[in-house]
Subunit: 222 residues, 2 copies
Amino acid sequence: MITMRGESERTFTPKGWATRQRIIEAASRLILENGLEAATLEEIQAAAGASASQLYHYFEDKSELLRAVIEHQTDSVLGTHRVILERLDSFEALEEWRDMVVSMLDAQNCVGGCPLGSLASGLAESDARARTALAESFERWQDLLREGLETMRQRGELRDDANVGDLSTSVLAAVQGGLLLSQTRRDSASVRVALDASIAYLRTLRPERALGHAGTATRVGG
Amino acid sequence: MITMRGESERTFTPKGWATRQRIIEAASRLILENGLEAATLEEIQAAAGASASQLYHYFEDKSELLRAVIEHQTDSVLGTHRVILERLDSFEALEEWRDMVVSMLDAQNCVGGCPLGSLASGLAESDARARTALAESFERWQDLLREGLETMRQRGELRDDANVGDLSTSVLAAVQGGLLLSQTRRDSASVRVALDASIAYLRTLRPERALGHAGTATRVGG
């Protein structure tokens, strides 16, 4: 029997934390590359080089391990995006972010799509705590986008009446939907086109005085 | 042993086809409402009121059943969307389509998100044939959008140089990403806001002469 313990009460040695982290990373990679269904506890053990008793020592059940995977992937995804999104203050920075999203997907040959999007889609109906955790991950991602767009608004890159809350929702939806299409099609063009459209729309929300230097050159439809 | 048979060679009695269809519909509902992981063959049997031998009579393996589910959900989703998308010729029709997407999600309390998006996310890495089938489903969906936008372009609702191919990609990404965010957040606002932004962007691509009657009234950021 596994002793029921609250996640917050766990204490391990430094070596124990390292083993726990190794299991989380192996599970994260396995889920990303092979899908949630393929990531059985047996597969995760094999990938992490850990025994079943080790797995149950560090995680009460699969649901707790999955929440640790969500936390790990949230830190990983947001850590990467934060580098660019925290200094989002211009259309050039937005385009740099789009290029990073496309490059990262190309580097993994479109396999796995978005780690957070895939977890959300796979767990939303089967694990209420996982769904709540992923809703929070999306919230944090959207916060980064909203703060960046707010900076652009304050710098006069967007009109005063631009609704940066709604705009950040639509940009996050574009990146999520684009990554899903690209994952399914094995072609990063979809996410690039989706983000191009989001950025093109944002360009239409520049103040009148800023329209001059790129208005007519805006790419149409992409 | 299950005899290996090509899917196209299958022949059943009318009653047999009805039983097969009942299994497909039960599996589709189970996957949508509880997620792919929960839809074990045992659960599908129970939901369809079918025996294991019946399941193996109609489907060679789980992968063949899943492809039948993809076909069923593609017909169902595209059948619903086609009703509006095939007469997509104006911004009013686009808004009607957005309202339909939001109403359908509300009717299911955001559970399941998009049946096709969820299947794509869950199967893309574990079942190559399923991924290919779902890429084709997305292609057909995008075709409906592209043809509708092309009609709008020819009617003068969009500029002659509007790239309806890329635009249809970005609208499909918006609906997929919006549905995933709404599913995770249990709030249809995300998909509504994402589609509002797509439509607002399309409005910026109207020919000059058409800008007069709604240009300044365009909602900002949503």
